[in-house]
Symmetry: C4
Subunit: 252 residues, 4 copies
Amino acid sequence: MEKILIKQYKKPRLTNSILIGGLPGIGNIGKIAADYIIEKLKMQKLAEIFSQYLPPQVFVTENGMVYLARNTLYYKKIPGKRDLLILVGDFQGTTQEGQYEMSYNVLELLRKFDLSFVYTLGGYSTGKIVETPRVLGAVTDNSILGNLKENGVVFPKGEPGGGIVGSAGILLGLAKELFDIDGACLMGETSGYFADPRGAMEVLKVLSSILGFTIDLAEIEERSKQIEQITGRMQEDLQNKASKKEDLGYFG
Amino acid sequence: MEKILIKQYKKPRLTNSILIGGLPGIGNIGKIAADYIIEKLKMQKLAEIFSQYLPPQVFVTENGMVYLARNTLYYKKIPGKRDLLILVGDFQGTTQEGQYEMSYNVLELLRKFDLSFVYTLGGYSTGKIVETPRVLGAVTDNSILGNLKENGVVFPKGEPGGGIVGSAGILLGLAKELFDIDGACLMGETSGYFADPRGAMEVLKVLSSILGFTIDLAEIEERSKQIEQITGRMQEDLQNKASKKEDLGYFG
Amino acid sequence: MEKILIKQYKKPRLTNSILIGGLPGIGNIGKIAADYIIEKLKMQKLAEIFSQYLPPQVFVTENGMVYLARNTLYYKKIPGKRDLLILVGDFQGTTQEGQYEMSYNVLELLRKFDLSFVYTLGGYSTGKIVETPRVLGAVTDNSILGNLKENGVVFPKGEPGGGIVGSAGILLGLAKELFDIDGACLMGETSGYFADPRGAMEVLKVLSSILGFTIDLAEIEERSKQIEQITGRMQEDLQNKASKKEDLGYFG
Amino acid sequence: MEKILIKQYKKPRLTNSILIGGLPGIGNIGKIAADYIIEKLKMQKLAEIFSQYLPPQVFVTENGMVYLARNTLYYKKIPGKRDLLILVGDFQGTTQEGQYEMSYNVLELLRKFDLSFVYTLGGYSTGKIVETPRVLGAVTDNSILGNLKENGVVFPKGEPGGGIVGSAGILLGLAKELFDIDGACLMGETSGYFADPRGAMEVLKVLSSILGFTIDLAEIEERSKQIEQITGRMQEDLQNKASKKEDLGYFG
C-alpha cells in the first residue's frame, strides 16, 4: 500500500489560503484550538489522510463504531478575506520519517489550493500552572514579526530553547525551505501536565485577532474555568499536605 | 526481496466470502479460536505469507524440523452459505508499517476471492480472572449492530477505552476505508495473563451462532476446564497466603 | 545508495556447492568455527558485502588502518567433492528487515554458484559452563536427519525451545521456502557468556566428519584449553568466595 | 518527498579537492573545529542538505526566526593548493540507514567537485580531563601514515579500541570502499563531558600543518582557556568536597 493515502472529498477554489496546523502535542493546545475553530466556523471536510506513519489502531465510538486513526483537513471560504484550511488529527506521524512525510504531503496537496501561509499552533511547556498564559511566537521571516507583536505575540530571547520539535516545527520548516511559503508558530503557555483549554483559548484570541475573524469563545472559556477549579483544588490539597508535613516536621 | 511474499496454493471459486482474522494477541483468544475452527471444519490451505515484517526466526518442531515464521490463509467452501476464509499465524507484523502492510496485502489478495465481510477475533483484557467472559463487539457500520446483539455480543459504552490496536483493529479499519468492506471485531474477555481457551470458546459460540455453522466445542471446553482447575488452585493458594499474612499481621 | 552492495572478486565455477554460514552470535561459535575453516583450508575471497543493515562503523587495525564493517564470502573448490562456500562477517544485519535482506541477497548471489545445501553454525546457550558440549541439530527435511545423527548430532525433543533467531535460522528458512534448497543448523553448546572456542571445536569435528574433509584442530584445541583454564580459575574463585560467605553467615 | 534533498547554491570549479567532515560528535570536537575553519577562512556556502534522516525539528534564533535542521557544505578555492570543502551541520543522520545515506550522498555530490581526499574530525573520549590532548589518527591506506606522523598525529596500538562509529568513520569507509578515495580521521582527545574547544584546537593545529594553511587560533585559544578555568574550578570544588568528606569521615 502507499505509505500515505489521501481521500479527497471536495475540490473548492480557494485563494491566497492559510493553513492552520493543530495536531496533538504539548497540552494538546494546538488540537483543542483547531478543533474549536472547525466547530465554531462550521468548516467543511476537504480530505482525510490515512497512513502507515500513524499507529495501527482503530478507536471505538460510544455506540460501538470503529474509526481508523487519521488526519483530516477542513476548509472554509471566507469572502473578502484569505480562505482558511485546518489540519487536525488523532496523532502526529510517529516516526522521524513519518513527521517529514506527513507534513510534506499535506503541503504538497494544499499547493493546489493556493496555500500561501502556514500557522502552526502548539503548547509551550512551563512545567507549572500558569495564571495568565502568554502566546510565544516563532516566524520564518523577519517581515512577519511586526504584525504578530501588535497582536500580542511575544518573542522572548532564548525561548523556546530547544527549538520546536514535531509537526508544529516541521510544517513551517518544510513550507519555508521546500515550498517557499512563509509561516509562524503560535505557542500557548501551559503546564504541559494535562489537555489545557486555557492556553488554547489564548492562542485562539491571538489568532482570530491576526486573521480578523470573530469566534465565540464562551464555550472554551467555560471549559477553562472547570479545569482551573479542578487544578486549583488540587493545588490547595497539595499545599495543605505540604504544610501538614511541615508541621509534623517540627515534631518528627 | 519483496517485503511480503505470498505463496498461493489453491485457486478456489469463493462467493460472498467472509474472512475471520485470528492472529496472536491478548490471551491468544483470536489465534486459539481460529486454529480451532480450521481443525474442526477441516479447512484447506489457501496461501502462506512470509515477510520481513515477521521476526527473523525459525521454529523447531518436536522432530527437529525448522519452520520459518509465517501467516497462513485457510478456506472452506460452504454450500448454500457464505464461504469461509481464516487468517492465522505465528506473529502479527512487528512494526507499525508491518501492521498496515500485512493487513493490506491480505485484503488485497482476498478481493480475488470475493471477500465481502471481515470478522476479527481478539481478547479484551480485564486484568483479573473472569467467571463468565462476555464477548464485546465493535463494528464498521450501524447496520451490523442488531444481528450481533441478537447473538449475544455486548457493546458497553466506553469499552474498549483505548480502541483496538494491532491486526484485529487495522484489518477492519483498512477493509472499511480502503476496500469498502464492512466488518466486526469480537473480543472475548480474558484476564490477559495466559493463553485463554475459555474466552476463545465464548467467541466461538457467538461466531458460529452468527455465521450459522455448527462446531463441536467438546475439546476446547475440556482445555478450558483444565486451565480453570490450574488457575483455580493458583487463586486458592494466593488467598491462603493472603489470609496467613493477615493472621500474622495481628501478631507482627 | 543501494541498501546492500556486493563487491564480487572472483567468478569460480563451483558445482553442487555447500554454504557454511558463520556470522557472530551466541558464544560466537559460528564465527569462530567458520573463520577457522577459512584459515586452515586456505579459502579464497569470493565477495564482500557492505550494507546499511550493518552498523555505521569502521574498525581500526593495529597499524591504524580503518576497515568498514562488512560480511565476506569465501570459497574453495574441492576436487571430487562438493565445493565449499563460507559466509563470515563483523555483524549480522541489525534490524529485522536487515536479517531477511542480508540472508536473501547472499542466497540470491550464491545461486549462481550452484548452491545446493546450507549449513548454519551457531551456539546453543546453556547458561552454565558445559564440560562436554553436545552439538544440537535442526534440519529443513526429514531425509537429512539420519546422516547428521550418524555423525554425532543430537536432536533432543523441545530443544531449542524458542526456535532459532537470526542469521542461523533465517538463512535456512529462506533457503527452504524461497529457493527450495535444504539445509541444517549445527549448534554447539556453550555457556553463552564469552567467545567459546570449545563449542566451536565440537561443531568443527561434526561438520568435517559430515562433509568428509580433514582439518587440523590443534590450534583451536589449544585456545579451548586456555579459555578453560581461565574459566576454571574463575569458577574456583567464585566457589571460594561462596564458601567464605557461608562461613561468615554462621557468625553474622 | 525524497529522503535527502540537496539545495545547491554554487557551481565552483574545484580541483583535487579535500573534504573536511565536522559533524557533531564526541566533545563536539569536529563541529567546533570545522565551524572555526569556515569562519576564519571565510568559506562560501556550496549546498544545504535537508533530510528525513535528521530530527523533525526547527531551531529558533535569538530574534525569533525558525531554522530547519540541516547539514551544510562550504567551499574555498585555494590558489596553488588543493581546494577545500567542509561538511558541518546540526546533527548526524539519526539512524543506521541515515548514517550511510547522508555520507554516501555527500560523497556522490562532491565527486562532481573533484573530491580526492577526506579528513574527518572527531573526538576521542578519555573519560577524564586531559592536560595536553593528543591527536589520534586512523587512515585508509598505509601511504598516508608517514605524513600524519610527521605532523604530530599519533597511532597508539589498540586505540580507538571500539573503532570509529558514526559520520567520522562511515565517511572514510564509504569513500574508500565505494568511491576509491582515501582519507584519514583525526581525533582530538577530550573528556567527552562537554563541548571541548581545547581538543578542537589541537586538531586544528595538526590539520592546518598537514594542509599547509595558516589559521588564527587566538579566538579558540581564548575559548579553551575560559573552559579550562571553569572546569579547573569545578575540579577544585570536587577535591575540596572530597577532602572535607574525608575529614568528616574521621568524626562520623
